[in-house]
Symmetry: C2
């Protein structure tokens, strides 16, 4: 490709709303162009990256035996009503009325459509297992689209759906995808982790996220440097402490803590470590009648250590809270605790409250909590003596240094960007949509399904978050818009430079290398800055001076300086570099 | 590919709403699946065809110097308001409101977005010419979607847009696309015609449609078997007759034609050829004030020969009708002609009417028209004597046998399916959206644009309309879902058959042939019927009996019977066939 035939449009300044590196750099490098909030045109330079991502994904999906189809972007609401998602999904689901006033949606995913295909076309167990995938435009009407392609509204996703006879088959299909995903992410040339994720209502452990490691990632991912353990923050288990509870050494005392409503403020005031304090969180569950009207409300008090954060996913698995919960209202809190939030605790309650303590809290002695009286806290509180032994559960996010659940070391935490997610769906959609096949015994059975996504347009953004410097992007070879850029200096003045540049370009192109020849006639400084910003990994500079010495200059985007390479050896030199 | 790993889902019966062969056969062959009116999933078998179409289009667009990008499917209304199309386009434009109640559209084309890109990124004449294209999902909310992919609501279109400094450059860009389109359609392996089309408001002759020839086509295309002339029906010029007008031989007489309101009925009644009658069409043009209110209405009478059809595009070019016209209302007709439609003519008008006669009508003598009195016609009417000489224009559709406008023979007419359209847009969008670049003289100039479409998902349907028989589809090699199908008979019983089939499959696949091995274990009849329906062009049958004789059976989808080929020669035999 020649630059003069391509569309190169770099910018000195990133737009003001570009908060993260990938957004800033993709805009500045002319890879994307904003059309509206969270809606971007993939410009030629960016589209080349996306196409390479797609090609790798397709190759590995095909290799894993999945079959590609393309489902419509605009989908009739009927199927979505059948699954219940038309009502359940919030304003993220973009709804449309056509000219006949019929309801449609713009697909955010395609479980409904693919399940509809399966119930029509997969009639016999002989046709199973089957895995259907598409690489297609999706839309989610995010409330706050931001970070460019990282959290856009319109995006490209690869979504795959597997159909199996039974749960064992579904697990095999899932494992095949887990392997395919590892091959895919290996090929991208990025540092990533496959982390265990919560599989939500489905249950079981069959859910993994593929996270590209980047300091700017939105997700905290937990791993054990000494073992294979890795999970996302929602999922990572906080083990019970190995030491038993210490003995009570202090009497329970009420201390004045006027205006100190957080654990941090109380610990500061009392000059004790934050780890001595206990945080109170008040939840509520409603019993509803068959018309959905609440008839009874249960209030819950959850206790985690002052320096810990509650984990809502884990809370949602506590028996009694596993059918949904909400935060209690201030009137509910005042009725049960006799005071307002900031001074709450498990002692001296006005009305019955179910108490659940985090595993860590359950082994604390001489701890500090609210006194259920404004401006006061209790110190020296002890389980058994001052308050009955609690129900105990894992309620909190792990922190670095916690024991690894596999017992093989301590946990570390890093940031990641979720670019893939695989999970077993079970019969959620097949039951909702009555999607069955005839099994060997002649009886209809519900499909056991799995679901496998890759954020095709998010991937380049994640790659940039992981690979950039003050000059711009640094693409891994596999997904670079161009692998090699040939930069001739003074091509318009020197016939030798022109001939050498064109020869090298043509040679590399003929060898299947994705090469760009910058024939725009820009000054060297501007030309180099463009390609460093765009992030082409391999650069060859051809100049009159170099040619006189029979030398070209090679520089990898990560190299501090250039390497002189004899002109006759450059093709072989590059080939070795590209294969590496 | 092995059939057991693919999704093959053929149907015995086509759905009742499938009116044309391509719709019926694509449904029966499991290539598409209906999700809603005019909305289809491209199933694996159909998607393979679409991908081959896309690949050929991309290769030739790239070769012609166009650069690919991808514009959003969901587009903010602002740009569409800027161009005026948000208001002008009817209910075909699918409109959406997002969660913030802002207006969006689902792209039917992307002139607005691409012009917005150009005005931002193409700042200098040095960057021109530039041609940007995309292959992307489009939506047009057709009132009557039908014929499957032929007239769907959601479809895939390749749309390209060229930007030039001046009209001469735009013409060059257009010519480059015209050449690329010829290469593309040649490669598809279909019979097609590039026909001159009307370029609408833009004027000039720079518009061509690419029509796949098929008896079921919706468009009439006009060509001269003795020359290169080809045009669509809207465009094809009807020359003035070469003979002069004959002399008047009859007196004008009023004859009773009670209840006979069409030319056919009158000709029947009077026992004269239909070519002696003249059809009256009444139009109206409104003069509006600066608030858009009509202040004056002009009524027009257009005359074409009884056996001819009026051509609205041509009528729209008659001076005075070229700013828009409408059909006159019945009250307007009664006020001007004193009678109701069915008995109208140019003689004895009540109020001034502007009369335009078709070229053919202008040379008629002793003709018949309505008497402007219910139940009566006039015979023996003659120009000059009974009615003043008219304004003359080309108002009608050509018919087979008309003289070719290039003077090289007579016109023939066949049916076609429009699958491509290229035209010069001029400055229509660049002016509406103030899209300029800095020219060499330092002054801002409007881009001269061109626009080039190919109906990617319509193409397979058109190919089928042209290539099918009672057994199913017959794909040209270039766009067949698979080029070769290997059909082993009794693969489950015979190790020899299995080994031979797998060997041939693997050999062909390794040689880059798109080969399918039917390993489903179907009976021969069902297996052959499936592949004949699906339309794979080349089939090899492997049987125990054949293998004993050292023979395989080859049959092209168009062949009446099979050809025996020695097993050792089959690869070379096929290679020769595929290259042909």
């Amino acid at each position: 490709m020649r630059a003069s035939q391509f569309l190169i449009s770099t910018l000195k300044e990133a737009p003001a709303d570009a908060e993260v590196a990938s957004h800033r750099l993709m805009m500045r490098a002319g890879m994307i162009k904003k059309l509206g909030a969270g809606i971007y045109t993939y410009m030629p330079m960016g589209l080349r990256v996306i196409r390479k991502v797609e090609a790798i994904v397709r190759e590995e999906m095909d290799r894993a035996g999945a079959v590609e189809c393309t489902m419509p972007v605009v989908q009739p609401a009927e199927l979505w009503q059948e699954s219940g998602r038309f009502e359940k999904m919030g304003p993220e689901l973009l709804r449309i009325k056509d000219r006949h006033d019929r309801d449609f949606v713009v697909q955010p995913t395609s479980e409904e459509v693919v399940t509809d295909i399966a119930r029509q076309d997969l009639r016999s167990y002989k046709q199973l297992p089957k895995n259907l995938y598409q690489v297609q435009t999706k839309f989610r009407d995010e409330r706050r689209p931001r970070f460019g392609l990282m959290r856009g509204r319109e995006f490209i996703m690869k979504d795959a759906y597997s159909f199996d006879r039974d749960a064992a088959g579904a697990k095999k299909s899932y494992e095949a995808m887990a392997q395919a995903y590892r091959r895919i992410f290996d090929r991208f040339g990025l540092r990533y982790r496959a982390v265990a994720a919560d599989s939500g209502a489905i249950g079981g452990d069959l859910s993994e996220e593929f996270q590209v490691i980047a300091a700017t990632g939105e997700d905290a991912i937990v791993y054990c440097p000494d073992s294979e353990y890795a999970a996302n923050m929602e999922k990572a288990e906080a083990l019970a402490p190995s030491q038993p509870r210490g003995a009570a050494t202090q009497p329970m005392e009420k201390v004045a803590t006027p205006g100190k409503s957080t654990c941090e403020q109380v610990a500061d005031l009392l000059k004790v470590p934050l780890t001595r304090t206990v945080k109170s969180l008040v939840l509520a569950t409603d019993v509803v009648d068959d018309k959905g009207q609440p008839v009874k409300t249960q209030v819950w008090l959850l206790l985690v250590r002052g320096d810990h954060d509650m984990n809502e996913i884990k809370v949602g698995k506590v028996p009694g809270l596993d059918n949904g919960f909400r935060f209690a209202t201030v009137p509910e809190i005042e009725a049960h605790f006799g005071t307002k939030p900031g001074y709450l605790g498990p002692i001296g309650l006005k009305q019955p409250v179910r108490i659940v303590a985090d595993r860590e809290v359950a082994v604390m002695a001489d701890w500090i909590c609210g006194a259920n009286e404004e401006g006061y806290h209790l110190t020296g509180v002890n389980w058994g003596r001052d308050v009955p032994e609690p129900v105990v559960a894992d309620l909190r996010n792990v922190v670095a240094g916690d024991l690894s659940p596999d017992g093989k070391g301590k946990l570390a935490i890093e940031r990641g960007i979720e670019v893939g997610h695989i999970f077993v769906l079970g019969t959620k959609y097949s039951k909702a949509m009555d999607a069955t096949f005839l099994d060997e015994d002649g009886k209809p059975k519900f499909f056991e399904m799995g679901c496998y996504g890759i954020g095709i347009t998010r991937l380049p953004a994640a790659a940039i978050e992981q690979n950039n410097d003050e000059r711009g992007i640094i693409w891994p070879d596999a997904i670079a818009p161009f692998t090699v850029v040939v930069c001739p200096i003074g091509m318009d003045r020197s016939a030798e430079v022109k001939a050498a540049a064109e020869k090298l370009h043509d040679e590399l192109a003929a060898a299947g290398v994705d090469v760009m020849l910058d024939d725009r006639g820009e000054r060297p400084g501007a030309m180099f800055a463009d390609w460093e910003l765009i992030g082409v990994p391999h650069r060859v500079v051809i100049s009159d001076r170099g040619l006189k010495e029979g030398q070209l200059e090679y520089q990898h985007r990560r190299d501090a300086g250039a390497t002189k390479v004899p002109a006759g050896e450059i093709a072989a030199f590059l080939k070795a570099r590209l294969a590496a």
